[in-house]
């Protein structure tokens, strides 16, 4: 899992365009292409969308804007004009974009309506059903509709998770497990002794959690520094072998590990 920081200001290129149109107080049916294209491109430069997936979508829109802009610059031939006298303007290259923007705007507004409903709904509370298992015989339970599908299950799971969250204690104390490098050095030497004084690098890391892995690594470095173990590698990309050098672990040795 990678950690992604996302700019949530705009939820897509259409959203950004709408924002620009609104800010520049432009008529949506008569968009000045040159200006909007410039503004749009400035904006994506400023946004620095790092996610390639999303950046590409913004870039597609930038390309579309440029295409429309250039089509509008093309001169209309006189001959063609005579052919289509009724349609002097010809189809506006912006038409499609305008339609898309209007359609998108509609759903953007609908989304904010939904958000209002969501907020309203969050104002009222219900409670989980009372536990009737003590009362209920199987026939009675059958009274309830048991025709469920996977989505009912998902819904039920959602409910369960919500209830779990409610039942969670308000305060918990997290105990911190303290383990010193000294302890870990000893356990590394012990495990080396068990494997006959020699083990592969990876065998020394049977742990799952990151802190212990790091601790083991640091203690291994410390052991190398003290020449208790040596680490060898036969060739490039071969496995690292850890060999125990000193059989006797000097317990009285004062270990001060500086960070």
């Amino acid at each position: 899992m990678s950690y992604e920081v996302k700019l949530d200001a705009f939820s897509g290129p259409l959203d950004l365009l709408l924002h620009l149109i609104h800010r520049l107080e432009i008529d949506i049916y008569d968009i000045p292409m040159a200006e909007i294209t410039q503004q749009y491109i400035d904006h994506i430069h400023a946004m620095q969308v790092l996610e390639l997936n999303e950046a590409s979508e913004y870039l597609v829109m930038a390309a579309t804007l440029l295409a429309i802009k250039s089509r509008m610059l093309l001169p209309i031939h006189e001959g063609e004009m005579e052919d289509a006298e009724l349609e002097v303007d010809g189809p506006d290259p912006r038409e499609e974009l305008v339609q898309r923007l209007i359609e998108y705007k509609k759903y953007k507004e609908a989304a904010s309506n939904l958000q209002e409903l969501e907020t309203d709904r969050a104002q009222v509370f219900t409670r989980p059903p009372a536990d009737l298992t003590g009362l209920a015989s199987d026939e009675q339970m059958a009274l309830f509709d048991l025709n469920v599908n996977i989505y009912d299950m998902l819904g039920a799971f959602q409910k369960l998770m919500r209830r779990k969250k409610l039942k969670k204690p308000l305060k918990t104390t997290i105990t911190r497990q303290e383990r010193s490098v000294k302890d870990q050095m000893r356990s590394v030497v012990d495990s080396l002794r068990i494997t006959g004084g020699r083990a592969s690098f990876f065998e020394l890391f049977p742990y799952e959690d990151k802190p212990t892995l790091i601790l083991t690594f640091v203690s291994l470095l410390e052991l190398m520094k003290r020449q208790v173990v040596i680490v060898e590698q036969d060739g490039n990309f071969e496995e690292l072998m850890v060999t125990l050098q000193k059989e006797v672990w000097e317990d009285d040795e004062n270990i001060d590990v500086t960070e």
Partner: protein
């Protein structure tokens, strides 16, 4: 009269016990051995009594086809005092937009949603499916037999709606059109005005 009052108390007790599972009119009429209409009447009376009485903290609401007891919305901040740090875990803007599109245009494919938003929607769709707000309701006839999405019962519960029809109507293009009309009018007016000068 006493009969409806008794019926109301029975309905109230049943609704209290089933909690957020709620009960339909059908289930209630079966349980109480009464006609549907009688139950509906009693339910309305019960709801009225709750709403009128400011000494009551709960009321009845029909959501996703079932009646359930809920706390009154103006008491929300009192209830929130029970929690130390209330955090409203609401849906993201992207998810809300996708959800709005699905709700108004269902059944709809992912590609159609993406066309509308001009942006990839895999993640919001995934979030919405895993939260049980939308679901696969079929496959499109075209090439690839793409998944068609629609809203779920949980969706209705989540937004406190009784049915999809109860959603606020989709903001129509009217607004934009009238804008254009006034614009046309204004240009005509300007022309006439200039001409007159």
């Amino acid at each position: 009269m006493t009969k409806t009052l008794m019926l109301q108390s029975r309905i109230e007790a049943l609704l209290f016990v089933v909690g957020d599972d709620g009960l339909t009119i059908k289930q209630l009429s079966q349980l109480l051995g009464e006609q549907d209409e009688i139950i509906v009447q009693a339910m309305d009376a019960l709801k009225n009594a709750y709403e009128k009485d400011i000494a009551r903290g709960i009321t009845v609401k029909e959501m996703a086809g079932v009646y359930q007891l809920i706390t009154k919305s103006d008491l929300a901040d009192i209830i929130q005092r029970l929690v130390e740090n209330p955090t409203a875990q609401s849906l993201s803007q992207a998810s809300l937009e996708v959800l709005a599109i699905v709700a108004y245009k269902q059944p709809i494919t992912r590609v159609a949603i993406e066309d509308l938003r001009g942006v990839k929607c895999e993640r919001p769709i995934q979030t919405l499916v895993s939260r049980g707000l939308i679901k696969e309701i079929g496959r499109s006839e075209g090439t690839g037999r793409a998944i068609l999405y629609g809203t779920t019962k949980e969706f209705l519960h989540y937004f406190g709606l009784n049915s999809v029809e109860e959603m606020p109507p989709l903001p129509e293009e009217e607004l934009a059109e009238t804008e254009q009309e006034t614009d046309l009018f204004m240009t005509k007016f300007q022309e006439a005005f200039n001409g007159a000068k």
